[in-house]
Assembly symmetry: C2
Homo-oligomer: 101 residues x 2
């Protein structure tokens, strides 16, 4: 149980993959286009997308020379949002503690 959950967290524990998901939030994109925006190699992006696709987080669609990827399960954004909120809450609490001391 913990193993499966940890594996899913590990998939998301990578800034490049999170940025990929964020770029895909607006709609499907080709590999090259994503690599350009991220400023990293096409090979690297392709590998990350393969991992995300295998986990079912993104879907792929081939069209001629291009492969277009899209977010398959928007629940991942809710997850990130929840983490983000928690981080903000912790930061606020720490700031308040500092003000008191």
């Amino acid at each position: 149980m913990a193993l499966a959950i940890a594996e899913r967290f590990r998939l998301l524990a990578e800034p490049t993959r999170l940025r990929l998901l964020d770029l895909l939030a607006d709609g499907e994109r080709s590999v090259g286009s994503l690599a350009g925006d991220l400023g990293c190699s096409q090979a690297n992006v392709s590998k990350h997308l393969a991992l995300l696709a295998e986990a079912g987080l993104v879907g792929r669609r081939r069209d001629g020379l291009h492969t277009y990827y899209c977010v398959a399960d928007p629940a991942v954004f809710a997850l990130c949002g929840q983490v983000c909120e928690t981080l903000r809450r912790h930061a606020d609490a720490r700031a308040a503690a500092l003000r008191e001391s």
Copy 2:
């Protein structure tokens, strides 16, 4: 942004830490007791707890020889629950797809 979120995910991307949090769900526990239940070394558990504490996910309380740890932010369980639900949903979808083919 993506970096901070990824870092939090990475903290949770470890079965041992997830099992620790699960054990702490019922209430505070000492390091040795947790190590016993997990079946791994005290040093290892101590290190994991230190990481969780630094991130503000668990709290510590010293009492004589023992250090008792507890969950500081129950939001982490909601997060795990959400992941769990997503995994189940994906598994169901895959099973349905297999049945159709």
